[in-house]
């Protein structure tokens, strides 16, 4: 895919994020597709950070190394990133720090502009980013007007003076680049003019929760999950609901279970450390058959790990992390659209199957904005699952209702607190049909079966999304944010004459072995692509009986995303486990 890469870098806490966001938003409005990704670390100010916006005329879902314009606010930015600048690319640097290019950077133009000085003139240092954006617009051949319109929109409520400063900054940058740059460096073909949406997975998941009727969200802040809380904070009160920040993750999940027991859609959201803390309570949700939704935004573990880095290493903890054996459904979206739909689905499945449903996101999916055509908001349906009617309860009388009645489907219609005669005991201890605690061995087996079979028997969510020719020799298997790099890798492979098929695993539990097995059987080379060190997805396949001599791994666990070329290289070169290294 032919795309243009624009990157801005500097110290953390100096507005790098918003600079990238401005560019991405305006590009989207002009009808381009964007994919933004950042490198940042677990500190508030200082330390290098950069933000790359990859621009295309069709969907972009993966990162690229190819940087065409690098905006550098520090020399460190140049030193760290110049190797990625393509032949003919431009490094746009602030005069203030006396920038220089390393000798190795051949074919790259250094364009030094007095960004700081121009910013001061336009209204203060804070305008530096806008100056840089204005200059970038010129280098990419984008209409300045679109940026000025954006500034007007964005800053209108801050007053005319702020708008004027921003516009002045944009113009100053644009003008300076026009004067001093060697012309438009990488003229983008005109965008199609259709403004789509630029969204991260976290944003989509928050909207999904709201759309699904989530009314209570209880959570404890943690990177990269906190934003889901923050996006829901203004939304839930629209319907009388609330986001509550709890004292820890143990409280958050248990509050969610309490609300679910009461018949209200609730959820929690966390990352690895929080997931570990929630393991006991997830079992409680399974045992009491209480609808419970949990989003896990995976980051690089274990322990504190690398909180701002990408990884897909919680799979086993998501599926098997609790003591004993309780049912869990685990969904794995790979795009913002899927993230939206999966959260909606999670709420429906949680109520239909009366069990915890976990949505496995990862840092890349959660945080990186990308252009999406739209979210399927009109397709949202609400399934509250099987409930016993108040009339039926009335007819039953007291002490008759069997909350955990054995049924063919394994699903027992539930009552909701407030319904007369629906009273029951929901307990994490083993219990009989009425909910009363019992250790009877026969009952035990029935209940264990019931809890698992309700999912195994009737789970009808497609677990594998596959694309590509059925007779392709290569099968790429992966999930989460790796779906973008895999799809692009397939294109690159095909360009080299090697046909490949991509199987995105959408459901991690119950594992869609039946759907995946024939794809694996049909391929000559099955490459399981995942962002972790131990090949958790491949092992999950093995444990579910999907194996074969041709199944191998490509692993990346250095905290960065897969680049499509890395997958391509591993497919072409590899045998056995391939690890992507620097």
């Amino acid at each position: 895919m032919e795309t243009i890469g624009w990157k801005v870098g500097g110290d953390q806490g100096e507005g790098i994020d918003s600079t990238g966001d401005v560019l991405a938003t305006v590009l989207n409005r002009l009808g381009y597709h964007v994919y933004g990704y950042k490198s940042f670390s677990s500190r508030i100010r200082g330390g290098h950070t950069h933000y790359m916006v990859r621009i295309g005329d069709r969907r972009v879902m993966a990162p690229s190394h190819a940087c065409h314009v690098l905006v550098a606010l520090t020399q460190e930015t140049i030193d760290r990133n110049v190797a990625e600048v393509v032949e003919g690319g431009v490094v746009l640097a602030d005069e203030a720090f006396g920038p220089s290019l390393p000798a190795s950077a051949t074919g790259v133009t250094l364009l030094v502009l007095p960004l700081t000085a121009m910013a001061r003139e336009a209204g203060g240092l804070i305008m530096r980013n806008m100056v840089a954006v204005g200059a970038s617009a010129q280098l990419l051949g984008l209409p300045l007007k679109a940026f000025e319109d954006y500034a007007r929109d964005k800053f209108a409520r801050k007053g005319e003076a702020v708008v004027a400063s921003n516009v002045a900054a944009l113009r100053a940058g644009h003008e300076a680049a026009r004067e001093r740059a060697p012309g438009v460096v990488f003229p983008l073909p005109p965008g199609d003019g259709r403004a789509r949406y630029v969204m991260s997975g976290n944003q989509a998941m928050a909207l999904g929760a709201y759309a699904a009727g989530c009314r209570i969200m209880a959570a404890y802040p943690i990177t990269p999950a906190t934003e889901v809380m923050e996006y829901l904070t203004p939304l839930l009160p629209r319907r009388g609901g609330a986001v509550v920040q709890m004292e820890d993750e143990l409280a958050s999940i248990v509050l969610t279970i309490g609300a679910g027991f009461a018949g209200v859609r609730a959820m929690t959201c966390t990352s690895g450390p929080g997931l570990s803390l929630m393991q006991e309570a997830i079992g409680l949700a399974g045992m009491t058959e209480t609808p419970t939704v949990l989003i896990d935004c995976q980051r690089a573990g274990p322990s504190t790990g690398m909180p701002t880095k990408n990884e897909q290493s919680d799979i086993e903890a998501l599926i098997h992390g609790g003591h004993g054996e309780a049912p869990r459904i685990v969904l794995a979206p790979g795009t913002p659209e899927q993230a939206f739909s999966d959260v909606v689905l999670a709420f429906n499945l949680a109520e239909r199957y009366q069990c915890p449903v976990l949505v496995a996101s990862d840092l890349s999916l959660s945080l990186w904005p990308q252009t999406v055509e739209s979210l399927p908001v009109r397709e949202v349906t609400i399934d509250r699952g099987e409930r016993v009617s108040s009339e039926a309860l009335l007819a039953m009388g007291k002490d008759v209702f069997q909350r955990y009645a054995l049924t063919e489907s394994g699903i027992s219609p539930r009552s909701i607190p407030g319904q007369p005669n629906g009273q029951f005991l929901a307990t994490g201890a083993e219990h009989g049909g009425s909910g009363k605690v019992t250790e009877d061995p026969v009952n035990r087996v029935q209940m264990m079966r019931k809890r698992f079979e309700k999912i195994r028997n009737s789970f009808d969510v497609p677990g594998i999304v596959d694309s590509g020719p059925a007779d392709a020799p290569v099968l790429l298997v992966g999930f989460g944010s790796n779906v973008g790099p895999m799809l692009e890798a397939r294109e690159l492979l095909e360009a080299q004459g090697l046909r490949a098929r991509v199987a995105q695993v959408r459901v991690l539990s119950p594992f869609p072995a039946a759907a995946l097995a024939p794809l694996v059987a049909a391929a000559r080379d099955v490459v399981v692509v995942e962002s972790n060190a131990t090949g958790q997805l491949r092992r999950l396949m093995g444990e579910n009986g999907v194996h074969g001599d041709c199944v191998r791994s490509v692993l990346k666990y250095d905290g960065t995303l897969f680049y499509p070329e890395e997958i391509v290289r591993s497919v072409l070169e590899g045998a056995g486990v391939q690890e992507v290294l620097r």
């Binding site: 409005r29 949406y197 839930l236 509550v244 143990l250 248990v254």
Partner: protein, 290 residues
């Protein structure tokens, strides 16, 4: 609706408690309080902890959620936020409340959501067969502490007052009248109510027995000019009397309850809402992402 009777709050379940266990009295007082308040069983939700005490939910005909050890309070918070029409009670042991549950306890107190918490305090771990609990006295001997406990006991009442609680009381399983009244007051209090309840374990605690308590407990009802609205005085009194008192210790008359302060607060309970989504609203919300 026919009038509620004690029978309505009973279940067919036979109790698993040892004969003479203090928990019987707590259960009885709770059932009486609910009846006297005229509450319908289906409008009562009880969240119970793990322990002998935590079995209380098995014997009371209401909506019962028996959680994992120490996590009752957040569960109750979820329940109450979801359905503010419910009377939400929490019951559990001193270990459940003050050992593994201590963090949630302090936070629940300062949040002041309208929940009533009955801690069934026997100064010991009953269900796990007699270990030292956080309220066990310094020097208390158990298998795990053959030379006696070396920790200062948790002082739940002082802690609660210091933590910002708005209703703090202590009851005694043997004083049914007072305990029933305290539970009623707790339920009626518009905010979080703590009722630490002395509930002797006749099997494992041979020190803090009924007789012992009867001797040492001072009944605040006998002190007509005690003013439970003075925080510093309450703390002083608790200190002086080493928390060996029963009655209403501290309360704040009109206080900000948690749910009512929520920006989205509505009179109607969330559980009654129709969840049908409004795609147009969603599309409008999406505009922020262009």
């Amino acid at each position: 609706m026919p009038e509620v009777t004690l029978q309505d709050f009973k279940t067919a379940e036979k109790s698993w408690w040892c004969p003479g266990c203090g928990d019987f009295g707590v259960l009885a007082a709770l059932q009486k309080a609910l009846v006297e308040l005229g509450l319908a069983p289906e409008s009562v939700a009880i969240v119970a902890g793990i322990g002998c005490s935590g079995k209380i939910g098995n014997y009371i005909n209401s909506y019962n959620l028996h959680t994992v050890h120490g996590r009752t309070l957040p569960a109750a918070m979820g329940l109450k936020l979801a359905n503010r029409d419910l009377t939400v009670l929490v019951a559990g042991g001193d270990g459940d409340a003050y050992a593994i549950g201590m963090g949630h306890f302090i936070h629940a107190l300062r949040r002041n959501l309208d929940i009533t918490y009955l801690v069934m305090d026997n100064h010991i771990y009953g269900l796990t067969k007699g270990q030292t609990s956080p309220t066990s006295e310094h020097g208390f001997v158990t298998k795990g502490n053959p030379a006696g406990s070396i920790e200062r006991p948790v002082l739940p009442l002082s802690l609660a007052v210091a933590a910002g609680a708005t209703f703090v009381a202590q009851g005694f399983s043997s004083n049914q009248k007072q305990l029933t009244r305290l539970i009623q007051q707790g339920i009626q209090h518009h905010g979080f109510s703590l009722i630490n309840t002395i509930s002797p374990c006749v099997t494992y605690n041979k020190v803090n027995t009924y007789d012992w308590y009867k001797k040492v407990l001072f009944n605040l009802d006998d002190l007509p000019d005690y003013d439970p609205r003075d925080k510093v005085k309450a703390l002083g009194m608790l200190h002086e009397r080493e928390e060996l008192v029963t009655g209403l210790i501290y309360y704040e008359e009109s206080t900000a309850e948690f749910a009512h302060q929520l920006p989205g607060y509505r009179e109607e309970a969330l559980v009654h809402q129709d969840l049908t989504p409004d795609p147009d609203e969603l599309l409008k919300l999406m505009e922020a992402y262009r």
